[in-house]
């Protein structure tokens, strides 16, 4: 009984979508709206989100109509039996936008094996960073026993650089502006980056409630289409133009936020054209979670988790 936002049978489809934004950045639906792709659909900003899991939970409980998070989080939410479906990818890593796992220049850590018994700082457990690290360690051939000896320590991203330099951490996870600023100051070198490990990949997707999709097929199609076109627009336009557009949108919406980080935007990081999702972008994390014992092996297949059915760029690509 949580589908508060869904239209009741017989009623017209929902045309106003509630969502949580991100302070200081522009999400693709917002871009789509600005580009005029949304048609009769209106967006209703209810506030900003603090984390992906919180965002998709809000969507799952009907507080909002869509939300996005790391694919691993989506798998977990689905495993918890929440009726959601990923419809499009919205962030990821490529050569320009990626997350790196950094050590200080003088650090003795050179290989994955050196990490045994060391501390790695991550922003939150059970999410993107942890998943990448575990995958890295596995691919480097460490046994599960050895992997267990690598300590993951939660630390706010803001504190990561400083903790790393002070020696409280052996490895720090950095991305985005924080990474750029930290690298500017020098003295850090990457141990590995996620894009090295996986190649360009989409890491997170936007989800809708299944009942919402069922009751609002047209709205869903329009929304995902607009979303995909916005992604494509950002993927295909020059960086400067995208940044300028983002800055314009931020200035226009008047949320009193700081637009400086937008200037650091480099790329969408989304692998598939128009945000089309690939099987492996879920399968990797399903395997990881099964290894960690968080989900029963074989219970979830990528197909249960996402659909490209509404994405106009899907023909031929993906599964």
């Amino acid at each position: 009984g949580s589908a508060a936002g869904a239209a009741k049978p017989g009623e017209a489809e929902v045309k106003e979508l509630r969502y949580q934004g991100n302070a200081g950045s522009v999400t693709y639906p917002e871009l789509a709206e600005d580009l005029g792709y949304l048609g009769d659909i209106k967006l209703k900003w209810v506030g900003n989100t603090t984390s992906g899991p919180q965002d998709i939970q809000s969507a799952a409980t009907g507080q909002t109509d869509f939300g996005g998070a790391f694919n691993g989080a989506i798998i977990k939410l689905k495993a918890a039996k929440a009726p959601i479906k990923a419809v499009i990818g919205y962030y990821g890593s490529d050569q320009r936008s990626f997350n790196g796992y950094y050590v200080t220049d003088d650090s003795p850590i050179k290989t994955a094996r050196d990490l045994i018994g060391r501390k790695i700082g991550v922003n939150t457990l059970g999410a993107h960073h942890e998943a990448v690290i575990k995958e890295y360690l596995k691919r480097a051939g460490l046994t599960p026993e050895e992997i267990r000896q690598v300590q993951l320590v939660v630390i706010p991203p803001v504190n990561t650089e400083q903790a790393l330099r002070q020696g409280q951490l052996d490895v720090g996870t950095l991305g985005g502006v924080l990474k750029d600023k930290a690298l500017q100051r020098g003295g850090l070198r990457p141990l590995f980056t996620d894009v090295d490990l996986f190649g360009p990949f989409t890491a997170g997707s936007v989800v809708l409630r299944e009942d919402f999709i069922a009751r609002n097929p047209t709205t869903t199609r329009t929304f995902v289409q607009a979303f995909a076109k916005a992604v494509d627009w950002a993927q295909t336009h020059p960086r400067e133009e995208v940044v300028a557009r983002f800055q314009k949108i931020i200035a226009k919406r008047g949320r009193d936020e700081d637009a400086t980080t937008v200037a650091f935007w480099k790329s969408t990081g989304i692998a598939g054209k128009g945000g089309v999702i690939a099987d492996k972008e879920f399968q990797t994390w399903i395997d990881w979670l099964a290894r960690e014992g968080e989900i029963e092996p074989g219970r979830l297949k990528p197909a249960d988790l996402y659909t490209n059915a509404f994405n106009p760029y899907a023909n031929g690509s993906g599964s």
Binding site: A60, V154, Q166
Partner: protein
């Protein structure tokens, strides 16, 4: 004389009644210092009295647990009938099953231990720091003048906002976690101690001073005992906080602990496990509170009989 004759009968009639409603309630509950209006123990030899007493105890037990049972029932039923979303608020029984699993062969004992050490250390330190400090501030004008402004600034600065500063200065190890608990627990103890000291009956202070008690003795023998009820209120508040703030203390750099468990399971959507963590934290807090109440009662036997 006819009056006197009838007296025993009437007397029995009265003693068969329940104690006078208002006075007894007051004497027993609000005004424990006053003599109990009514002493059932004197008449336990009469079986009817005993039976009535048992009945009363039983009915009190029902009142006492009624609200709780209602809550638990709601927790079980509402998700089942679909008022709450079962995914996010699973029925109590499911949570308990998971809890039991975590306890028996899961990581719960380890989390519990890690948290307990942090809570108790921080709480203990808060008591050891805040009570003497509160006594000093309540007592010495110069100390109050010198420290109050600074303390008020800190009291009004969220430890969570300061978390980065905390980790900056204290690192991300146990020190910063325990300090965090200490920080959060100190304020209720401090404020209540100060207020306890300030409301000590002045005549008692006068009396002690007239017997030549120095400041230290005066503290120990008059101010402290007189302020005990107020201090304990603060301590009980702090007791709850020492457990509650685990959630923040274990937000940074934790590898185990109940707060960590809750945060971790919450972000991983292991909802029943999250509730298992919340249940454990609440139970721990309740236990702690019970313990503190016991100790408080011991400290104030002169009041509570």
């Amino acid at each position: 004389m006819a009056d006197r004759r009838s007296a025993p009968a009437t007397g029995t009639a009265l003693s068969e009644r329940e104690p006078l409603e208002l006075p007894t309630g007051l004497d027993r509950h609000v005004a424990p210092v006053a003599a109990p209006a009514y002493q059932p123990s004197v008449r336990t030899s009469r079986p009817s009295a005993l039976a009535r007493r048992t009945r009363r105890l039983a009915s009190r037990a029902v009142t006492k647990s009624g609200a709780i049972l209602l809550l638990l029932a709601a927790w079980e039923v509402l998700p089942r009938v679909g008022v709450f979303d079962r995914v996010f608020v699973p029925p109590l029984s499911e949570d308990l099953v998971v809890w039991y699993g975590l306890l028996l062969d899961g990581p719960l004992p380890e989390h519990l231990q890690a948290s307990l050490i942090r809570s108790l250390s921080g709480f203990g330190l808060a008591i050891a720091l805040a009570i003497p400090l509160g006594l000093l501030i309540g007592w010495y004008r110069p100390v109050a003048d010198a420290l109050t402004p600074l303390l008020e600034v800190f009291r009004n600065t969220s430890p969570v906002a300061l978390l980065p500063v905390f980790t900056l200065i204290l690192g991300i190890g146990e020190t910063s976690k325990i300090t965090f608990v200490l920080y959060a627990c100190s304020w209720p103890i401090l404020l209540n101690t100060v207020s306890g000291v300030k409301t000590v009956e002045p005549l008692l202070i006068k009396s002690a001073r007239s017997m030549g008690l120095g400041p230290v003795r005066l503290f120990q023998k008059v101010i402290l005992p007189a302020a005990v009820p107020a201090i304990f209120t603060g301590v009980r508040l702090a007791g709850a906080y020492s457990i509650l703030v685990l959630l923040f203390a274990e937000m940074v750099g934790a590898k185990a602990g109940l707060g960590y468990l809750i945060l971790d399971t919450q972000s991983s959507f292991r909802i029943p496990e999250m509730y298992a963590g919340i249940i454990t934290i609440s139970a721990l807090g309740l236990l702690f509170n019970l313990l503190l109440l016991r100790i408080e009662r011991r400290f104030s036997t002169w009041r509570t009989t």
